[in-house]
Symmetry: C5
Subunit: 271 residues, 5 copies
Amino acid sequence: MANEYEGIKVEAAKSSMDMATVIGLIGGFGLVLSAIVMGGDPKSFINPPGVLIVIGGTLAITTMCFSISEVGQSVKVVMKTVLYTSRNPSNAAIQVLQIAEMARKQGVLSLQNILDTMQGEQLLHKGISMVVDGTPGEEVENILRRDIVATIQRHAKSTSILRRAAEFAPAMGLIGTLIGLVQMLGNLDDPSTIGPSMAVALLTTFYGAVLANMVFSPMASKLERNSAEETMINNIYLMGAASVGRQENPRRLEMLLNSILPPAKRIQYFD
Amino acid sequence: MANEYEGIKVEAAKSSMDMATVIGLIGGFGLVLSAIVMGGDPKSFINPPGVLIVIGGTLAITTMCFSISEVGQSVKVVMKTVLYTSRNPSNAAIQVLQIAEMARKQGVLSLQNILDTMQGEQLLHKGISMVVDGTPGEEVENILRRDIVATIQRHAKSTSILRRAAEFAPAMGLIGTLIGLVQMLGNLDDPSTIGPSMAVALLTTFYGAVLANMVFSPMASKLERNSAEETMINNIYLMGAASVGRQENPRRLEMLLNSILPPAKRIQYFD
Amino acid sequence: MANEYEGIKVEAAKSSMDMATVIGLIGGFGLVLSAIVMGGDPKSFINPPGVLIVIGGTLAITTMCFSISEVGQSVKVVMKTVLYTSRNPSNAAIQVLQIAEMARKQGVLSLQNILDTMQGEQLLHKGISMVVDGTPGEEVENILRRDIVATIQRHAKSTSILRRAAEFAPAMGLIGTLIGLVQMLGNLDDPSTIGPSMAVALLTTFYGAVLANMVFSPMASKLERNSAEETMINNIYLMGAASVGRQENPRRLEMLLNSILPPAKRIQYFD
Amino acid sequence: MANEYEGIKVEAAKSSMDMATVIGLIGGFGLVLSAIVMGGDPKSFINPPGVLIVIGGTLAITTMCFSISEVGQSVKVVMKTVLYTSRNPSNAAIQVLQIAEMARKQGVLSLQNILDTMQGEQLLHKGISMVVDGTPGEEVENILRRDIVATIQRHAKSTSILRRAAEFAPAMGLIGTLIGLVQMLGNLDDPSTIGPSMAVALLTTFYGAVLANMVFSPMASKLERNSAEETMINNIYLMGAASVGRQENPRRLEMLLNSILPPAKRIQYFD
Amino acid sequence: MANEYEGIKVEAAKSSMDMATVIGLIGGFGLVLSAIVMGGDPKSFINPPGVLIVIGGTLAITTMCFSISEVGQSVKVVMKTVLYTSRNPSNAAIQVLQIAEMARKQGVLSLQNILDTMQGEQLLHKGISMVVDGTPGEEVENILRRDIVATIQRHAKSTSILRRAAEFAPAMGLIGTLIGLVQMLGNLDDPSTIGPSMAVALLTTFYGAVLANMVFSPMASKLERNSAEETMINNIYLMGAASVGRQENPRRLEMLLNSILPPAKRIQYFD
């Protein structure tokens, strides 16, 4: 597998959707919606002021805890999570080894030819570009490490914003329900309105529970998990680019890569 | 006990069921079921949409937090937990010492004859096979340690999936009940349906509480406990195989084994 | 106080009941029972299926989390807790110093005569017996330390079983109440039965709250506290036996003992 | 300020009440009581059996977790908390420096004359007394440090007892309410009694919430805060007495004191 | 940008309002208020005794946990939070570098001329003033560090007071609701008052939930976040003043500043 250097193609992880997230979201909401539809008129579950107070209120309080730009950024990060592609660390490690072997056998400048195929993997592309431009290995390593740390911090901030939102959503739901209950109890003249009023009051509790448990909380967990995986892939790219920059033996790189890969994902590129 | 070498038989831990888990499950569910049956018509506790929303919803959200393959793997791990046999670390240590003594007295190659009896204990079998094939002790140790770490990580991941499911099940139960309550409150025309509708609404809370407290949460605790026990047994096998591979004195092995055995399980094989 | 060597008598801590535990249990349950009796017919608080589902269910799930032998062992440990006698560490330290001084002045073998008076204190008895038999100080220390560690682990396991039970008892109470509510709501034909049915349904919640808050949780706290105290006493005995075995100066032993005694319990045996 | 040595007067912190605790208690209970009185007949909030079951039960269970003497001791500690006077660490540091300077200029024995003025500050009095009696500095330090550690442990024990009580009070309130509800539901014959019975049942929940949130929990927090403050003052006294005992330069003492004082409380006694 | 030394102007961070806090507060309360107004008569949500018991009670208990001056101080800190201006650490670092370069090229005394422009940034002003007055670099560093630590401690105390208040507010709300429920249940004679009485009883729960979730809890989070940001800015000022005081090369200062700036905020002032 290691001898078609001309034909090396760094396959960018396709940006297909993260199936677990999509299936989980569709499955969860599908079940809730079908329970609502089967039970009768679904319109009774739509209450625009309630939606506003729970979603808007949660957003307002969460923004209060952070800054507007931080909350805005976290929306982008969450979007990327839904579209995140789980990449195989073993494949990333093998591609990095192929690049390292090509650099060793055909010279670092030959990597220019395959730079385009790395477009999909920004960090790898940035690292190899710098190496091709003659940046020394240590500097490549420092710059990429800084990028990785910045990415981790951005993800950690977004995770904590989501966890906060998961705490505030049920609280706003409770506040909405209390408003509804107080209004209903002050108006008991017509008993026929008690039921529907109470149903409306409970809707905000329902919205809050759905938002917290079916959106914010699993999103935060998923983001944490994907951030760990992405950090590992990025560290593989960093090790590879730095190793090529330092013109080290690719066999040593393989050893280094195996030391950070999980046991089940270790590779054996050279025999 | 140490002189019938020809007759050494490594008794594989029989894959009988873990009695505590089985008794706990049967006992717990038996009590709940008998309370249901004694109270009247058990059919009123069966509500397929409710079952679907709680079990399906919990599965969907939990999947969202992880990846599909991780959730699938955890089902297998849980199955193995129910069938897990609590093995006695002392017995494992004594068997390992018998093997070590046999290797010392009759030569490593003689272990070939008893390899078959170790089929039930994969890790021991793998280690002794490598030793018989001439793999050096250090390498045997590295390979087995990697296997042990991978097993621990697999168990830890499964435990955290079960704990997550134990958090989401009651949340899905609450969401189901809120749906039922809103539907009931919107339809108070016929008072005779209030009771049964509310009963149905409460069923999802019931399902969620049963799933979380009688299945997911104890399963997670059990998995944690068994993982610790299995890790100890595996470390005993690792120590034994590595010691035979390094052709060490079995008395030294006994000392090493005693240092990781809990005080009550320490052995005295050589006098 | 240090000159009646012939008359040394190691007073075994009398196995009287732990008054705080007994008074707490009797006081707490007495108040609850009197509130029940004062409010009318106490029979309405007895519901055998409810008792079964809460106690049996909690037992079943807790067993599931551990193993049958661990749960059985914890029952014994809890029993010993109720009968536990709070011993004064200062007294234990002084007795140990008396023994050490006697050994120094009359020879180690003279301790044979007072061995019988130590029957009540197993660890001290075991340690001094070994010393009299000529076991070297280091070995006495190792063996006793192993015993102490085993005791601490046994207590820690029992504490965690009790804490688990304290979590599961209210959960089983809720499950029982939900069963009762669903049964009641499905049978609203005769309004006169609503009240009593609901009373019965609430009983399991009551049982669960009483079990968790008045039995399991305080028992776990008490066990933790007593385990710490017993460990200190046992360490005093270990230090004493090891010191006698090493034929050290008792004044040095006093210094060692004071270093582990709490400030308020420090002793001054030699002037 | 540093030249009227003859007139040094160690002002004992006046044992006035801790205003924050007193105002908080009076303010909180005042508001609750006025809400009760304004709403009608305050007698409906008095239910002796309920008071008994919540206060007595909480006391009984808390005692069960600890020992009788520990609970008794914590009552004393709590009493002292209410009467605690917040002392200014800066003032304590300056008084200690005045004493040190006086000892340096007029000799250690001259401190005899001002010993009486230190009566209010036990630890300082004990330390200076020992110094005047000729106890060496190291020993003074060891003895006072032991006293300080014992005080910290006593406070920590009392804090944990209060936190436990804050957990058990609402639990006992719930148990009392469940008893009341079961009794009421079993006796629905006369609908006119439902309201009052339910009111009585809710009273124990009310008592539990008030006890936990307005007494035990803030008391525990206050005790923790005051313990930290008292420890700092005591460390100032310890440093001072040890420094005088070692006949060190007071300027060095000032440096030491500033190293443990919070930034805003640092002093500049010598220019 | 680095050559108009005469024209250096240290732009004080404008004390405009923290938009995230203001928008969050207005947005959240706006949504709640509009839900109240849309649902009918907003007067039914105003209950002065309820407001008093929740706000006053929370204040009283929180004061009890701390001291009066600490609670008073935290009000000031919170006010400053609302008016806090998020400053850009990069800008602060560049201004500090401009000052350092000016001091290097035109002499430290020239900084006298731009001291006035630093009025808005107290710590920087204090540090540069000391440097101009000839205070050595080490002393400037020590004094400023002490100020920074004192600020951090003040913020941490205020944060913990807010978190406490966020815990006590719902508790006081529950206590208020229990008082209302007991009063209502004792007076069931006129059924037409049940609804409004219950509405009033629920109001305190509503007040408590709003106070805790929409004021205290997000304020505490915001304070924590802003305190971290302010500490970083203050450390930049400290490093700058100390560096000028030690007459170090500004290039070295740039390196130091970059080591504490987050990756995304690193600066490159010198090429």
